[in-house]
Symmetry: C2
Subunit: 410 residues, 2 copies
């Protein structure tokens, strides 16, 4: 059907990325396919019963408030809870520094809305989080990339990239999506030093910071930045910090937050008013009810145990089933690891064959904003059960052996 809308789309609509993530999420719904494609938390660790009890309490005691319109900034007790939790990680802020968003994706979109003019350069890791590219490309962002290795963004290449005058630096220091790699302490310090020297502020995206399965917790960039500027480590404002309830509570309630200077929060609030008025009041009060009595600490321990085991199972299965010539990262936390095929192979080709064998992952190239990564793959280890992980990696190993040219049967 011809409609009068077809020739009326805004120019930015052409810049909106293809729906790679969405199309791939659809694959996860096929019945007997084992999917390592999504970034899905394990439903096994959803605190369903605690949320059910919280819903009952909230609707019994605060129904009129929970079902009503609310403030754009967010539910104050939840903002205060985030302030208290942040302080434990060295982020010393007040509720004026906190905005509740409808998932971190909205935080990325609102930052794009208030900061990005068409043609502005954003400095990103390569590869980087696809959702950020989707959000910002709609505002006409262009990208300057810094390559990564096993210690994260290669800060030796950062200075050259900073000379191009980026509006801000976007970094995922902990168990990065997509690679699972963690930015080393030395490089965090170097990043802060160079960002300061070139006067370029930082957006730090930290959805998985608390999901570490081995090694020592590293201070977030926002904390190191503040400590470098004042003795007491008061929040300085050079780093905007994003985190979320999606990986520690539930993604289906769409709750995340931004830590930023009050003036930036005010601009974000204006943008959010136009974007969705406010995040669901009910969800915020329920999340507060579930979280405020110390439950989160205990629950995060459970998640670490479950995901840590799945990571180990996956790494073990890869050792057992993957052919020589394939490499992968060894993430210390988070949800993903990163596979690297021989240069001559295309992970998109592998995916096509893999789907026939009922196993899926995400080809890496969409995560590279300026091209590259044809032979890389993002593999999720949080969603599938250990048994499914073993079976899925065995299937994928068989596909890889066959495509590399050394069938298992030899």
């Amino acid at each position: 059907m011809q409609t009068p809308w077809e020739h009326r789309y805004a120019q930015r609509t052409q810049r909106m990325g293809s729906s790679a993530i969405r199309e791939l999420l659809k694959l996860t719904e096929l019945p007997d396919l084992i999917s390592f494609a999504g970034g899905l938390p394990a439903p096994d660790v959803f605190p369903t019963e605690q949320i059910r009890e919280a819903c009952n309490r909230v609707l019994t005691n605060y129904g009129a408030q929970a079902l009503q319109y609310g403030a754009t900034e967010g539910y104050m007790p939840l903002r205060e809870l985030i302030v208290r939790n942040s302080a434990r990680y060295g982020i010393n802020v007040t509720p004026e520094n906190i905005l509740i968003t409808s998932g971190s994706q909205q935080a990325l979109d609102l930052l794009g809305k208030i900061l990005i003019n068409p043609g502005d350069r954003i400095l990103v890791e390569s590869p980087t989080y696809l959702g950020a590219l989707q959000a910002w490309s709609a505002y006409g962002a262009e990208y300057v990339t810094v390559p990564m290795d096993e210690y994260g963004m290669m800060t030796d290449a950062l200075e050259a990239a900073l000379r191009s005058g980026p509006k801000f630096i976007y970094v995922l220091p902990n168990f990065q999506n997509p690679t699972g790699v963690t930015l080393s302490l030395e490089r965090r310090a170097k990043l802060i030093e160079l960002a300061d020297r070139y006067g370029v502020p930082i957006v730090e995206d930290d959805p998985y910071g608390q999901l570490r399965y081995e090694g020592e917790h590293l201070p977030p960039v926002v904390v190191l930045d503040s400590e470098s500027r004042n003795e007491v480590g008061c929040y300085h404002g050079n780093v905007i910090y994003l985190s979320t309830f999606s990986k520690i509570l539930s993604p289906g309630i769409r709750l995340a937050w931004v830590v930023a200077p009050p003036e930036v929060i005010r601009k974000l609030v204006q943008a959010k008013q136009g974007a969705d008025l406010h995040t669901a009041t009910f969800n915020q009060i329920v999340a507060y009810e579930v979280s405020h009595g110390g439950f989160l600490d205990q629950h995060i321990k459970l998640i670490r145990q479950v995901y840590g085991e799945r990571r180990d199972v996956m790494l073990g299965a890869m050792d057992a089933y993957f052919p020589p010539g394939v490499e992968w990262t060894h993430p210390q936390g988070g949800l993903f690891l990163w596979g690297i095929l021989p240069e001559t192979m295309s992970s998109a080709d592998v995916l096509r064959v893999a789907i026939e064998q009922k196993v899926a992952f995400v080809p890496g190239s969409p995560f590279y904003p300026t091209g590259g990564g044809h032979n890389t793959m993002r593999i999720n280890f949080s969603f599938a059960s250990p048994e499914k992980i073993r079976e899925g990696i065995a299937r994928l190993g068989k596909v890889l052996y066959e495509m590399i040219g050394e069938p298992l049967t030899l």
Copy 2:
């Protein structure tokens, strides 16, 4: 504190409206102030118990799905329910025509994102809904206005406005926010005829369509448009139709929907992926659970009864307490009526005095995108109890008598 973000805002940030609505919503939180300012539904009619029971059922039976990521388009059974309900009002569509959004504000934002280039003209009623102006001004929209009278948009002035080449027409035909006025059947037909002649499509915003307290239901513009184009009234696609659960269930769960041609839905889905990935799965499944058994019909009857009474109480109190020279609309439904003061008076001045007397409303001028309305006021009748309405209108009448120069004590 100086931060490096201050000189980095995008140009569009300067176009983002002041936070008039938000600042005014804050007033409603002062303890003994009677506020007619917000557009708040009455908490008295929230189906709190039904929602509580639905949360229990959903988390007991579908917890793993309800707390997980979901499809950007929305929860399929909810989209199907909207299809069935729409058919009862003559809107004949399939789930491919439906996108679930995080409140209608998000639908407005996403439409702006996919359709509006900086400098594009949007044809709007004057006055019109402030939230649409906030959403679209951020994308650089300019406005062509058509004045209103008691029968809605004055279609005699529409043709001249259409000659300016607007991208689309935005209309709120039922109990408009802010005026409470309903577009007459004759003018709906004229609007469709002229829109067709000039090849300009329509966005119809209908948050209150089911909340009619007197008179006969009028077919939505989308239905009249489809009927004018084919005998069976199949959805034609020239009109994008917006509605919401905010006024018939709860605004605090942030759920609304768009009816549009599938190609427009696909563009909106791309934009929504970047904006917030998807609307909270939990909220969608709960809304479906509450709504699917016919509960909504029965509940809307209750809302009509409660709001109809409040409207009558307010109209009666205005007759009793407002001075000569002040006029107001007589809405057949919805949440608002519109006050018109003598030309020499400023409603902003009146508000300042009124707040001292512990009563509030919204001055009308922000609803006029191209200026005007200094002597108008939006008055909500859905939120306050009948007793508070009488008391608040008496307070406001006293203020008006004093400012008009005929104190009550004379």
